[in-house]
Symmetry: C2
Subunit: 236 residues, 2 copies
């Protein structure tokens, strides 16, 4: 394998908490609609709405809020009251203002690797929201490049690793989502490192790749510098 020069990091639930805020909001959503639908049914309907709306809204909090409002109207058969909808909007705005909680080892791993590699942030979601989280994270200066994208496809990874590095063959992508971070990065020709997070959004679930020498799985980011070092030593 070609020498590694470039390492891409996913942001949400790889460097900082994200899904836990969505889950908190979903709990509040279920409480607001407790009289109209049981939580399990509501979660199903919300997932279906998110899936159906993804092509219109893309990833991020604003689309999530619009999907919640849509589901609130559906499950109440049009009887949900305006104050409940106002609460959903407030919950969304609170998500957009929540403080950033870095995940353990995120800063140390980035600092250790930024000295020797081109370190990139590659994330999807609402543009402004991702920029805010990056600014609040205090990690901004460690990145050689930041790419906020609408989709994570092999073509998009290939283009980013060509633009900021030396192509996908010399790159690695690190993230908590097999579906968005690992599988398409592998398909682009890069290495893929899965760092599982306890909570994964239903729309991000996928099976791990079959025996692929470019695929790695680590329990947390403290293991990343060692993995990169081992790969560098192993390169002939």
């Amino acid at each position: 394998m070609a020498d590694l020069t470039t390492i891409g990091f996913d942001a949400d639930d790889t460097l900082w908490q994200n899904e836990s805020f969505f889950r908190l909001t979903q709990t509040r959503f279920a409480e607001l609609l407790a009289g109209a639908a049981d939580p399990g049914h509501l979660a199903e309907r919300l997932e279906a709405a998110e899936r159906r709306n993804l092509g219109h809204y893309g990833f991020g909090v604003k689309g999530f809020v619009l999907s919640m409002i849509e589901v609130a109207i559906e499950v109440t058969e049009g009887r949900v009251t305006a104050p409940v909808i106002a609460e959903i909007i407030v919950a969304g705005r609170e998500m957009l203002a929540h403080p950033v909680h870095l995940l353990p080892h995120a800063r140390d791993a980035l600092q250790a690797l930024a000295a020797d590699y081109r370190v990139l942030l590659i994330t999807k979601g609402d543009l402004l929201d991702q920029e805010r989280k990056l600014a609040q994270s205090g990690l901004g200066d460690l990145f050689h490049g930041v790419e906020i994208v609408s989709h994570k496809t092999p073509e998009i990874y290939a283009a980013i690793f060509a633009r900021h590095g030396h192509g996908a063959q010399r790159a690695m992508m690190v993230g908590n989502s097999l579906k968005s971070d690992v599988l398409p990065a592998l398909a682009s020709g890069a290495r893929g490192v899965h760092v599982p997070h306890g909570l994964t959004w239903a729309l991000e679930q996928a099976d791990p790749p079959q025996a692929d020498p470019r695929y790695f799985n680590i329990p947390d980011l403290s293991h990343l510098p060692g993995l990169v070092q081992a790969l560098t030593n192993a390169t002939p």
Copy 2:
């Protein structure tokens, strides 16, 4: 002035229609709430909500829809019904699916200039929505680079013109918004060309710059290749 090498174009209401779709939706919004508020008052409240929410939602259709829902709840003092809110959501989804209407001379001007200059698209709004419009416009292949940004500041223009060209001193920005396209581009050191559009969103209004030899105003894009040619000839 240094030789021009790079020309940035705004997208919405510079290359294709945008504000007219927002106005159509606002008319529909006013009809939906005709019993609760007169159109003038409603427009004021909506503008105030958009201004207040800009820091949370950024620019784009999804934030606009959330602001409309918020205002519908406000002006009805919480009595707006769920079916009306569902209509607002549908109107927003239709905006996200509307066909792209190129403005006159957009394609010709771009084609004429793309042969000799680095032509960039620099736009704000929802990431996915702007990507969709670019894909539908059929103009994608003419651009050397595409930047979808959350804000248009002098620093952002300087960074983009450094990344894709030879710096702001050798760049020009073309757009319908004095506030977003012309003034910050001038402040970055670039030339700024204002191409007014009949409809301008209240939050984009600004006064033209005082006597600045790098500021130009043209009635439509058919005048742009001639302006660029004249500037090139005038450069010593």
